[in-house]
Structures are given as C-alpha cells and as structure tokens.
Amino acid sequence: MLLYEMTLSKLHDELTSGRISAMELLDGVLKRIASTDSKLKAYLRLTEEEALKAAKAADARLLAKEGINPLLGIPFAIKDNMCTEGISTTCASKILDGYVPAYSASVAQRLFNFGAVMVGKANMDEFAMGSSTENSAYQITANPWDLSRVPGGSSGGSAAAVAAGQAIFALGSDTGGSIRQPAALCGVVGMKPTYGLVSRYGLIAFASSLDQIGPIAKSVTDAALILNAICGHDPMDSTSLKVGTSDFTQGLEAGVKGLKVGVPKELMGEGIDDGVKAKVEEAIKIFEGLGASVKEASLPHSEYALSAYYLIAPAEASSNLARFDGVRYGHRTKEDVEDMVDMYSKTRAEGFGAEVKRRIMLGTYALSAGYYDAYYGQAQKVRTLIMDDFKKAFSEHDVLISPTTPTSAFKGGEKTKDPLSMYMSDICTIPTNLAGIPAISVPCGLSEGLPVGLQIMGKALDEPTILRAAYAFEKEFNFSERPKL
C-alpha cells in the first residue's frame, strides 16, 4: 500500500516503529500532489519549504521519542480561510490578494505544536460561500472520482485533497454543510463538531454564529484523533466552550446495540435522489443488523431551515466582510477615486466575486432598518424552533441519520447559473448548523460510481455517540473503493 493511501492511525504506527520517516511520508505526499494536482487543483498554494522543516523536526522528535502523539509528522492540508502566520491566506478571494497573516489560527497553531506537517492551503469557495468550489477566484477544483464533476464545497479543496491522497487529513470549515457535503461527494469522512467545541480564532469568518472548524479524514478513527488535537477551550474565542478535553477515540468500539436511531422523514423525502436514498436505506439496514433500533423521526421545521439560513448567514457575512475595504490590507482599486466611499465601492466591486456580492446584498437588506423584524428577526425565531425540534427528537433518539447530500457529485457548471439549486445541496446539513449540534458524514457506498454520504447527527457535545455509531457502520460496511486518478 502506498503511504499516501494509508490512514493517519496506520501511519502513526509506521512512524513510531521507525519503518518510515516523516520525511519519506512527506515526500510520498508531495509526489502524489505533483502527479495529480494539475488535474485536481485542490491546493491554492503549497508550503513545501515549511513542510520540509516540519517533517525534519518531526523526525527529530520521533528519534528522541519526545512529544510523540498521533499527529506527529502527518502531512495535512488546511482550508485557505484559516490564518497561517507568514503564509498567504486569501479565502480564495481577490480581495485578500497578497494578504499574509501576522498570526496563526488557534487550530493551525495546535496542529503545528503537535508536529503535524502542513503541506498547503486548500482551495475553497470564496469566503466559504458555495457548495461546489467553483466560486474560488483562483481555480476550480475537480472531484477525484470524476474530474468533470465538482468536489462539493466550500471545503472542496480539503475534501478532494484527502480523497486523492494529497494529504493524510485536512481541516475544513462548516457553516451550512461545507465539511460534510464535500466529504460526502468525495467519499471521505467529514465532521462538524458542536458549535464552540473547536476555537474559531483565526478562522476568517463567514457567518460567526454558524461557522465551525472540523476534520476531513479517511476514517472515523482519524477524525476522532484530529478532533482530539483541535478541540478544547480557547481564551481567544469567547464562544469557545469551557469543556474539558476528552479522548474521542475512547469507546469507539462499543458498538450500536440498543442505540436508538431516528430517521427524520423530512430529510428522506422529496428532493433526495433515488440512488442516494437507496444507499441510505441500505445503511439503515446495517444499523438494524448491528442491533440498533431504527425509527422514523421528525424535524417539522426543517423545511424552513434553508430560508432561515439564507437570512442569518448573509446577514452576519455582510458585517463580517465589511472590513475588506482596501484601507489597510489586501486589494485596493487602482482606479482614480473621487472620495473615500468611491474607493470602498470600487475596491469591493473589484475584489469580491458574484456569489459573495449576492450574499452581502442579501444580508445588508435583511438587516436594514424596517426589514430587520420581517427577515433577520423572523429567521432567528425559526432557528429557535429548529433547535426545539432537535431537542424533542433527541429526547426519543440517541442519534439521527439522513443522507448528507440530496444528490451525489454534480457536473461542473451545472448549478452555477442557478444559485437556488446550488443552495439546495445543503438542505440536509443546514439544520444542524442552525442548532449548533455535531454531525458526521461517512461514505455509505457509490451511486453510479460516485460516493454517497451518510450523515449522523447527535445532541450538543455528544460527539462520542455519533463517532461510535459512525465507527460501527464504517467497520461493518467497509467502504474500500478509491478514486482512480
């Protein structure tokens, strides 16, 4: 087996036993990138120099047996909306052209401290807005399973890189499904933790109350290991939860016997592709076979989730993205300007792409005087109703399962002209962001040769249960197909 095809946990054994070095592993991954990324375009930029240094340092730690941990020496990709000190970070937007952060995001810093090896910044939809990674201002990432198809978004670069062996794992961010949806479309594991479990400090905000960083990995165990490394309270983020760190690999093998699984009928009905539905139904049978009790569940307000989301997220985004004004960093118009307002207008008109502008306008409108109550206020009420739906569902079920996405990977360009159809890609994932609860997507088979994702949702801070369920399914189902690149 090639090194880049191995899981994080397997590679950890190889590294600590001395069978391979971090340098060799890095070399394998860099070669894989060199041979595939001209087709895939998963990376916006590689950080080879830093990676070589980090791998060398990891080897020294391995040799001295100091600071050994599961991430030591493991090559990873990081979505380009997380700040990395001294390394250009753009959110795949022209407005941040040439911007080099003066500090690293807390998650990046933690991974660096563990000795993980960053190989590059992954492509994404501009400012994490989109579900196909076609909104990047720089390049379009392809799906490794079928280069004519999208990898999903907005963490499409991260998911494609992991699926193609261009990184052992990656970090993505999930505002409405941006980790789980591309993970599903690329056939890898993606997890959105409970809101506040992972620090957002240094994550360039899209919608602050929804954004959450999480792992994209090759296995559930890997996802748990990465979560171990990045979770925990951060004094720099006041929404960061003050919960003790736990080992999420503990209890993974406890099985699902007696686990009460709910299947929300609203996420299995209209709009879900038949091929996808068939795979999820097979997954349900597997759960039953493993001793779980599966019952229908209901999230009655989920039909309003998409509408609420497309008011709240753009509202917050319109404010979060105001700072990109050309005054202090990033792009500034080179046109002649009449005054300050003209400078702002031209800079922002040139710097932002169409989707970002669309959402800024939506959000500005939703918050404007006289419309606040009708739009933003109403959306927040819907959000509360959705939270209550989940609370009620979790009083009867331990976990909820659904398809991660309504369809498998669609063709490039297929939905770019129709924003609403693109927004529909996230109908199954958005409710959990509104509720702040954790969810994981695991591959549950192929439909017409393309991966399908199974979503497992749990109550706030109940990551151990969804990881346990995902692990049991993964072990039983044994999804072993790999994209042929």
Partner: protein, 495 residues
Amino acid sequence: MELETVIGLEIHVELNTSSKMFCGCSADFFGAEPNTLTCPVCLGLPGALPVANEKALEHTATIGLALGCSVSPITKFDRKNYFYPDMPKDYQISQYDMPVCKNGYLDVEMTAQELSSQSQEPYVRRVGINRVHLEEDTGKLIHIGQSGRIAAAEYSLLDFNRAGVPLVEIVTEPDIRSADEAKAFVQNLKNVIEHLGVSDCDMEKGSFRCDANISLRPVGSEELGTKSEVKNMNSFRAIQRALIYEIERQTKILLDGGRVIQETRHFDAVGNTTSSLRSKEEAHDYRYFPEPDLVPKVFTEEEVRALKAALPELPTDKKKRFISDYSLSPSDAAFLTSSKATGDYFEECMRLKGDAKKVANWMMGELSMHLNAAGLKIEESALTPRHLLSLLKLIDAGSISGKMAKEIFAESFETGKLAEVIVEEKNLTQLSDSSEIEKIVMMALSENSKAVEEYHQGKDRAIGFLVGQAMRLSQGRANPALLNEILKEKLSEKA
C-alpha cells in the same frame, strides 16, 4: 411665541482599564508611539475575535449605579455597521437594545454662580439618564493638509492605539432646559465619574467628551421640535458657548417662521459658532444586530449588590458630610466637593489638622485665583495641603501678618517652597519684640513731628499716617496690634 429649549446630552467616557475592551492590548494610549499598542483583535485583522473585558463591564455598571440606574440582569453586545477608515472592522461593537444600565437620574443644583442670568433663583434640575452602555473606541485619523479636516487633506494617517479602548456612553433624557444647565450637568457628571475612579475624565485628552442634541418648542408643547446635534465640544465652556449659539440660531429661524433642519453641526471654539457637518438625509442605517462573536453577559444579583456596596462616597453625600462634620456653609461645601481633587485636597488639609473654615477660605480665595491665573488643576499645584497648612500655622502663631501671608502664598505657589522656608530665607518673621517696635515708633515720631503736632491738635486721622510710617520703617514686619498700642502710648506720653 415664547420658546422653550430642550437639550439631551450624550457623554462618552473612556474607561481607565489596564487593557482594551476586547483584547489584551494596553488601553493607556495617550502619548504612545502610533500603532504600537495593537494586536490582530483591535486591528480587526481577518479571523481575530473579541473577548469582552469584564472589568470594563463592571465599571459601566458602577457608573450606572452611581446614577441611580438599574443594571440589566442580561446585557449583550451588538454590531453597529458603518464604513469609516478609523474603524478596523467597519463595524463598532456597541450595545443596542440591552445596555448595561437603564433609567437613572442626576440632580443638578443650579446655584447663583452657575446661572449666567442674574434674575433666577437657585433650584435643582433632575436630569433623567436614559441609558449607560459600553462600546469600543475607534482609531484616530490625522489628516495631513492645511485645514486638518478630511475634505482638503492630501493624505491621512491612521493610529489604531485608541481603537478598542473601552468607551462608556451615557445618554440623558431631553430634560435640560438651558446652556447653563447643560454645562452644570456635565460638570456634575464628570465629578461623579471622577469619584468612581473609573476614568481620568480628561477632556483635553478626549477621555470625557460630549455631544448635545438641541431643539426648541413653544412653551407648553409636549412635542419635540426638530433638533440639531452638536459635536466637537471639548470643554465646559465650549458646551455652554455652543449651546448658547444654537439656541440663538434656532430661535431666530423659528421666530422668522422658518424650519430647523435636522443635521449634525460642528462647534468652532475660536469663533464660538457652529456649522453644518452633515445633514440627516445622509444619515446611516447602522443595521444593528447581536454580535455573534460574544456571548451575553449575565449580572447576578450578588454581583450587582457587591458593586453597589463598593460604590465610593459620591459628591452629594460628601457635601452633606462636609457640612455636618466640618460645620461648613452649604456654599463652601459645594465648592469643596465640586471636583474630586478639590475634596481630596481639603480632606488632606483636615487630616493635617487644619481649621476647616480657614482652609476653605484660602482654597476658595488665593488658591483658586492662582490656579485660574496659571491655568492649573488643583492636583497639579506645587502648593500642596502641607504647604497651605505651613502657611496657616505661621498666621495662627502671629509670626506673619495677613498681608505677608498673601505674598508668601504667591511665592510658595510659584516655587513649591514651604512658607516657613520662605520666611526663614527672607527674614520675614513678624516683629513682636516691644523694645524693637518702640525704637521704630520713636523714629517715626521724630521724623514726622508735624503729624504728631496735628494729632495733639485733635486731628485723629494723623494717627493712621503715623502707623503707616512706622510700618514702613519696620519693612512691614511689625505686629500691627503691638505697633498701634505702643504708638498710642508714646503719643500720650508726649502730650
């Protein structure tokens, strides 16, 4: 048509916390090298997140409690969205519908000296406090160009040291009825906040600044007239002058049958006039919404109780105490509690065992006069309570005369030397030795035989002349009582 003035004030107070509102940077920015007290958070760099300064929240609650407000059990932050280059995030973290404190008041005693119109009787004006909320200050723009204003600037420089300094906004109800009241209110408010110790309240440094909303309406009307908002007033006098100007301006417009335009006006301290800055047509829609990066702050009942219990003595209570403890008149006590530093000065004098009435008289008289002339604050005076007491001791002992005391005071104020040192250096002690005075008296009598003659002829006023001459010969040092006594004695002997 008789018009009534309606004024509401917005006062911004920079808190003196050691760190900024949402990050760990030092809030002590005054005089610091530009952009040295900054970090990703206060620079609003992408990805940076705010963390609320608990001390600033407590200070804000303390201000509210001192103003009789209630502290909200839950308070949250909101974003106020607008574009301006001095704002790193292009939104300001402020508070909208759930401020830290609401519904208080401040009673302003209008004494005769605070009323520029002589005809009015002293009275108390209760000014309602609508809200007290917390926000972050902005950075500073320095416009390079002749005018110093943005419009004609060649380019502008930005200093973000001030960005993120905690700023409390106190909003009054439109309860103020004159420029005098506005000025007195602001003076009183500043005094209260100084007593709390939560801000240095330095108007020159901009840590205590005031905007005014002013409108006129027919007497008896309940409806508010169209207002103008006056900004850029950085002294008590400026507040008074700006409002006097606005009252006159609006009165003239209304009496001429015109309409006041709602706008923001800039006060020009040189010309004592206001000019239009921007009209409300360009007014911002701030698109307030709850700040999603911060969790609401909960003030428990215990916390509020503890903050209340920790409130220091406020000016009104201090005034009452001064009257009862030191048997001072209400007006003396009012003067002595008119600022924290004045009260502290007085109490230090009392600690040094001064006589309350005498100390008060010297503080209101010579000290005030010299401070005004020198443009100094009492806390900057070289003449400390110890100096004042040293002087009073010499007067009480009869070592120096009242006239000498004033000269010594002036020198002590100037040089910071203690009175006894000045007296020693200049050999200024009062002459109380009878035989010495007798010699001087004899000399005066022999030099002024004509006056002596006149005295004996019954011209009483000649004695005044002779006292003056003797005093001159003693270089002003002779004990006046003793001199008088000896002079009369010698004159009667000669009779």
